[in-house]
Symmetry: C2
Amino acid sequence: MQPRRISILGVGLLGGSIGLALRSRAKDCQITGYGHRKSTLDAALQIKAIDQGYDQLAPAVAGADLVILCTPVGLIRSLLAEIGPLLAPGAIVTDVGSTKRSIVEAAEQSLPPTAHFVGSHPMAGSEKRGVQYSRADLYDGALCIITPTPRSNPDALNQVESFWRLLGMKTCHLSPQEHDRRLADISHLPHALAAALISVQDDPTLALAGKGFLDVTRIAAGDGALWRDILIDNRDNVRQSIAKLQQELEMLQSLLEPDQAQMLQAWLDEAAQRREGMREKNG
Amino acid sequence: MQPRRISILGVGLLGGSIGLALRSRAKDCQITGYGHRKSTLDAALQIKAIDQGYDQLAPAVAGADLVILCTPVGLIRSLLAEIGPLLAPGAIVTDVGSTKRSIVEAAEQSLPPTAHFVGSHPMAGSEKRGVQYSRADLYDGALCIITPTPRSNPDALNQVESFWRLLGMKTCHLSPQEHDRRLADISHLPHALAAALISVQDDPTLALAGKGFLDVTRIAAGDGALWRDILIDNRDNVRQSIAKLQQELEMLQSLLEPDQAQMLQAWLDEAAQRREGMREKNG
């Protein structure tokens, strides 16, 4: 898809990076941004992530053939309800939210039949926040999970997929339910664990942290409000992921004996091998 | 301390990096290496991490004023028993083990009164293994925890501390007991958690991993046998660290409700702030 007029609702790191990426990869595309704060819109304009910035939704989405919701997860549902009456006929709508079930459900309920929603989760980001950290290559080479449902318009699905590929992303499809279940394990649990691992340290111990600890906890420096919304929105899956990890830790406790050394090593070796099989990513 | 003849027992990544660092920072120091495998000794000689390599302990420690045990934790105790009769009078002995109580205890029991042991834990390393990954700057800027006891010789303590500082390290002192307790929290628990976090993933989910997951689990790619020994040697403390984390996860489960959103955010924000206050380290 080569959109002619794109509307980015929420110009933070993710929205701003879409603007920059699009500008470097697509010709003749008007990029409109929507945000609450004038300072954010000004910063987005200054780095040329957007062509026009609005603090009102109506002018921001007017005439857009592609609307991308880039606000934190907790704001996407109310935004979907608000933009419904404002969308051009045939407009395609997607989002960048880290959870998908509740967002896709809200979109299918609140958007008019003349608009076509397809949920997306581009798996790119940073623990840094704000449009000033936007990068034209943030999405390049990363994976975007697209979450169609039986109600998705096939042409809209194709166009959303083409759009992320235009930005350099690899794509795959999962149902919103499967997305949320798998992401609880691979993303939401690690985030919660990184925060928990910091919380259990006292300050003198934290002062002894080496490079390994810094790696393990880097994602915990993210935005608390953003992750609050993700963890609560996906809480049934996150609870199960935590429970699974707790069972694994119980099992590990039983391996911490000299006569279990062989089993412990096998457990560590398997984890090491699976980790070594994973490709390191840039960014 | 400017050692004139140093003996490195175990020339892997840590031992080899000591050799390289010493060569770039100390003049006229003979560096002797001990290792089981001829290929390892040859590789260490080739990168000039050592001047002579031996597969026998007697020539490796003969005449050394400083002996550094750089084998995995599980081998250090038996090595201490073996080198006792071979050490030159007045020799200072230290080690790089990630646990300290059992090593310091073994050293104080098995070394002759004419030798002086002071335990060290230079907090530098890599998930890579082998002398070929040695780097002259591996220790530069990192922290070395030195673990004297009431029986430690004050002059030997000073000399060991000066040695690590010569390699560019910052130093601090903890008792072996306090070292093991704090390291269980800040190092051994994170390692176990990183492995557990991989173990709970199925393969299709692992394929969805983003940069954050790669960061969190990077240390799990380490040497299984090495970490088996560390976790088992320090199992009483590691058990308590795991139990503390399990309690934190129980508490987190109770925060995963919409009416607990404010508490959840406060918990996430505090972890984020503490993480942001930590200095990122090179390497």
